[in-house]
């Protein structure tokens, strides 16, 4: 009997690994496809209106991801290979590599503005979403998960908040689906709107960092707008990400004491547990670059800095492809339309507020 059980277990493990490797292979193949499309359309004028060079790789990567997502679901192979779609892992590797090209001085300068913006945005958006979702009659746990996702940093914030308030699994899945569903069009529309408004790259980057919910889409929007916009967007979003531990802890305290009426409070150790540790890697990489251990990118004589910058783009491309692959629209229908209405209203509020705050801080108060 034990042997049969063990064989079953072995077969399951083999299946998991097989699915993971095939999924990973699909992501890499699609990333190559996205890069190929980008290169092919670069010199074209699409529909006689849009210059191909304005359409950067995040758009193509997310698009091929979405198409593959549909195909995999149609052929019923999605569940087998989904373990290879590691959006967060690819993104975090890309972010640490991005840090290896930003000087510590620039990081500090933009970081101060980023933290200031994050503090204003997180508190205002959080309480607005909490209040509005209460008016729409959403459950306490869904309110907490949704407010954290919109106010802090999308998918990972939703998961952290869900852990703090013991949200139902379907509530977490619903919010993470909404995050990706709204972030994908925002990733493309925000740079377009920023160009129409004539925003400078730092202001546009800070705006993307504040208004696009998930970090992958923030980086995507920044990449479409320009190199400085990519850096500022990432720094601002990272500053926002660092607050997740504090929010998760405060939520856990509130739910334990006020909602569930428990006497013992959760430990502040949670702040460190939830802290996004890759931020430390990002800072360390920036320090190595600042002290000249990592060379700068050179246009004439390619250095290790060029290799690191290229790897950063590859990993971001893998993350954008995975983001398209991750989307699951069916979840939205299950939960009904009132949470969707709340999410969309708060997103509009978030977008307008972030524009004002980004302009105030990065255009006027602390220009980069």
């Amino acid at each position: 009997m034990a042997i049969v059980e063990r064989l079953k277990e072995d077969r399951k493990t083999t299946r998991i690994w097989f699915g993971f490797l095939v999924g990973l292979f699909i992501v890499v193949l699609l990333a190559f496809t996205a890069r190929w499309i980008k290169a092919e359309v670069y010199t074209l004028m699409l529909f006689g209106l849009i210059p191909g060079k304005a359409l950067e790789y995040p758009l193509w990567a997310a698009l091929v991801g979405l198409i593959a997502n549909g195909l995999l679901k149609f052929t019923r192979t999605y569940e087998l290979v989904r373990r290879g779609f590691r959006t967060e892992l690819f993104l975090k590797i890309g972010l640490v590599l991005l840090g290896a090209g930003i000087s510590f001085k620039d990081l500090g300068k933009a970081g101060v503005g980023g933290i200031l913006q994050a503090l204003i945005m997180v508190t205002t958006v959080y309480f607005f979403c909490w209040w509005l979702s209460g008016k729409f009659g959403l459950s306490q746990t869904l309110r907490a998960v949704m407010s954290t996702a919109i106010a802090v940093c999308g998918v990972s914030a939703a998961i952290a908040a869900a852990g703090s308030v013991m949200a139902k699994k379907e509530e977490t899945t619903y919010v993470t689906t909404l995050v990706v569903l709204v972030a994908l069009p925002l990733m493309v529309l925000s740079p377009f709107m920023a160009a129409q408004l004539g925003l400078s790259e730092p202001v546009a980057g800070a705006w993307f960092g504040g208004n696009v919910d998930t970090t992958a889409a923030v980086v995507g929007a920044g990449t479409i707008y320009g190199e400085t916009a990519q850096q500022i967007a990432t720094i601002v979003k990272t500053a926002q990400n660092t607050l997740i531990g504090v929010v998760a802890f405060l939520l856990a305290v509130y739910f334990a004491t006020k909602v569930e009426g428990k006497k013992e409070k959760p430990s502040p150790v949670m702040i460190w547990q939830r802290f996004p540790k890759f931020v430390l890697g990002f800072i360390l990489a920036s320090l190595l670059f600042t002290f000249g251990i990592i060379p700068a990118v050179s246009k004439t004589d390619p250095t290790a800095g060029n290799a690191i910058a290229a790897m950063k783009d590859w990993f971001f491309c893998l993350a954008f492809v995975s983001m398209g692959l991750d989307l699951s629209v069916g979840e939205v229908k299950k939960m009904g339309w009132s949470p969707l209405a709340v999410y969309l209203i708060v997103t509009v509020f978030n977008t307008i507020l972030a524009l004002g705050i980004a302009w105030l801080i990065f255009g006027w108060l602390l220009p980069v």
Partner: protein
Amino acid sequence: MKLNEDWLATLLAFVLVLFALIGLISPTWIKF
């Protein structure tokens, strides 16, 4: 200490940085 996704990403990124610094990953063939 448990190796979560954050630490794993940081570790992998620094391994890649190291490979680039010692010339194992060339800027020519990794070009995006």
